[in-house]
Amino acid sequence: MATQSNNYLLGLWDHEEVFLHAIEHIRHDGIEIYETLTPFPVHGLETALGYRDTRLHTAGFLFGATGTTFALSIMSWVMTTNYPLNFGGKPNWPLPSFIPITFEMTVLFAAVGMVLTYCVRNKLFPGYIPRIFDKRTTDDRFALVFDIEGKSEADVEQLKAVLSGQGAVEVKKRIFSENE
């Protein structure tokens, strides 16, 4: 991954409220945040970072609608066209008794489709080796990562001062080797 930067500056916080305020200030100063890492979903984080809302639930709806259509059309085709059986003269297209399977297939398609989309979008699959900036971000530290590739030493020092000023308990450089 030659195009990817290998030099980063890391600010670590230990309290999510201080962390959220820090993000607001840093974004206000116009400093670009490369990545944000937290050990658990912090309430209000995506607002502070100015992220737009995820469209995952829309995908879920579309998968669900596919499931509904799929189940209803298969059952209708089988019961009326491909294999019309006479159940004591009852209708061949009994919509009420299609409801349970249609519902189950809607849920199945929505859930499976959403989880797959989620894994693809989040780059999650078994065996993926992620870049770990700091091991403690899955334990007790809230981290902001800044890309400092090609930045002057003075700029980095200034950034360090901003982070410390915003209550970061630790500020450090993280330099990856080429094969990491």
């Binding site: 230990d14 999510e16 409220e17 959220l20 990545e35 944000t36 890492l37 937290t38 050990p39 658990f40 979903p41 912090v42 309430h43 209000g44 984080l45 995506e46 970072l49 992220y51 995820t54 995952l56 639930h57 879920g60 669900g64 298969i74 059952m75 089988v78 019961m79 491909n82 294999y83 059986l85 159940f87 008794s97 299609f98 349970p100 399977i101 519902f103 189950e104 849920v107 199945l108 929505a110 859930a111 499976v112 959403m114 989880v115 989620y118 979008r121 989040n122 780059k123 999650l124 078994p126 065996g127 993926y128 080796i129 770990i132 900036f133 091991k135 971000t137 899955t138 334990d139 007790d140």
Partner: protein
């Protein structure tokens, strides 16, 4: 920026020594060492799981004749066990999905283990319908697929087929929900791991999770939608299971009350099983600070509610049988309570309806020994409920010359006891290698609902208001400082 939380509420995380690292240590700790009792338990339950496999093998080899079924009673322990296990599974989904939608924070301490229990219970449940078909190697006939036997399809009007879809969807969705929550926690274990192999394994399990803000945003969206999907799903599953009976013409089965009554019973037995397991887990793994007496009490409240719903359903069935004026229905219920299976009915009534009434009183709800014993009673009672419904309705059918009595064979008993062995084996493996509490979720309620946070807020208020401390300062302490 913490959400509203009344300081009158008991903390969900006890102990003033808690912080994020301590939470990680406490929950991940048990996966890093083998507990003394683990191997003996594993050997016992592993042997029982072996018995399960052996008895199923015997059934396949010898045929369904190995069971105590006869011409009249053609469903007995097999379907009893199936419905019982499926019911037990329901608590996990209720805790993780319905309580999430209702924003009940106490779910965070128990949802992981309860969902694991759901999955293992559904695995056990699924075995029974498959093996009661007899020729297991043809089990795939239940799926609708294009085949070369002419146009030949399954009957989409049959509740038995709906069951196939309901159970398989339920299993898949529960597994996805559970696993999507596990990924971040596996990443926590990975980042603590010392050994290279351990790190490698947990990285695979975590799917390479890192916890970026975007990942968490999608995570929250995913869990919310999955919870929204699982909620009607869990209600539909036991509804459809009850349709297996309710759409038949057997007196005692053919009643419209079955769906809500089965769902309530399922949640009832599921919560009892969660309590049985969690009371042991919290003790063995020293997790009393995370699964507190408050958690147990909340579950006991659900048990007294659902137990009473079940009780009302029993009485309603009786009343409607009498009120209907339908002779066969009346006989079915008279026979159920006072006939040759009166003892099963007595077990059912005393365990399911009478025993949970103790929980109207707070000292009983908060007593761990009583909770443990009652949770086992409830599960015995719920097994008998299914037995009573299935066997008593079949044994004395429309034709008195066919009336019969069901006696289980050793194979019946072996399969049932063995299924408990399989369930416990899977649960023990889960306890040994997986985080039994959702680490990230517990951390996310730490600032609002822990004893530490409540104390911090009380101290802050003491400074501001001069000696006006803590749990009596309603209003002042509770303002949302957003």
């Amino acid at each position: 920026m913490h959400a509203y939380e009344s300081d009158f509420r008991e903390p969900l995380i006890n102990g003033l020594d808690k912080n994020y690292t301590k939470i990680t240590d406490d929950i991940v700790g048990p996966t890093e060492r083998t507990y003394k009792g683990w191997w003996p338990l594993m050997i016992i339950f592993g042997a029982l799981a072996g018995l399960f496999v052996f008895c199923l093998g015997w059934t396949v080899y010898y045929g369904i004749g190995a069971w105590g079924l006869n011409k009249t009673v053609d469903w007995a322990w097999d379907i009893t066990n199936f419905v019982w296990w499926i019911g037990i599974g329901h608590a996990g989904t209720l805790i993780s999905a319905i309580l999430l939608l209702f924003r009940q924070r106490f779910r965070t301490g128990i949802n992981r283990a309860a969902e694991a229990m759901t999955i293992f219970a559904v695995i056990c449940a699924g075995m029974f319908p498959v093996f009661h078909m007899g020729r297991v190697w043809m089990a795939f006939f239940i799926f609708p697929y294009p085949n070369t036997r002419g146009p030949l399809w399954v009957n989409f009007n049959s509740p038995l087929l709906w069951d196939v879809f309901a159970i398989s969807t339920y299993f898949t969705v529960s597994l996805l929900f559970w696993y999507s929550g596990l990924m971040p926690d596996f990443a926590t274990i990975r980042d603590r791991a010392n050994g290279k192999t351990r790190k490698w394994i947990y990285n695979i399990l975590s799917f390479g999770w890192t916890g970026t803000a975007k990942q968490w945003q999608r995570f929250e969206s995913l869990s919310l939608v999955l919870a929204g999907l699982s909620t009607p799903l869990v209600l539909s599953v036991h509804t459809i299971v009850s349709f297996d009976f309710a759409t038949s013409v057997i007196p005692g089965w053919h009643t419209t009350i079955f769906p809500p009554y089965f769902v309530a019973g399922a949640i009832f037995s599921g919560f009892a099983m969660v309590e049985t397991l969690m009371l042991i887990v919290r003790k063995v793994f020293n997790l009393e600070d995370y699964i507190t007496v408050n958690h147990i009490e909340s579950m006991n409240k659900i048990i007294v509610l659902t137990g009473s719903i079940v009780g009302i359903a029993y009485i309603t069935e009786m009343f409607i049988a009498w009120y209907s004026g339908y002779l066969y229905e009346q006989f079915a219920f008279y026979n159920r309570a006072l006939g040759k299976y009166w003892w099963a009915y007595a077990w059912m009534m005393s365990c399911n309806v009478l025993s949970p009434q103790l929980y109207w009183f707070k000292p009983f709800r908060r007593n761990l020994w009583i909770t443990f014993i009652l949770s086992i009673f409830v599960n015995i009672g719920m097994w008998f409920e299914r037995f009573v419904i299935i066997v008593t309705s079949l044994a004395d059918d429309f034709l008195p010359s066919s009336w019969n009595y069901f006696t289980p064979t050793w194979v019946d008993m072996g399969i049932y006891i063995g299924s408990i062995g399989l369930f416990m084996t899977l649960f023990l493996l889960f306890c040994r290698f997986f985080p039994v509490i959702a680490i990230a979720e517990v951390k996310s309620v730490f600032r609002t609902s822990s004893e530490v946070a409540k104390r911090e807020r009380a101290l802050k208020d003491e400074k501001q208001n001069g000696g006006f401390v803590g749990h009596t300062t309603f209003g002042i302490l509770d303002k949302d400082d957003k």
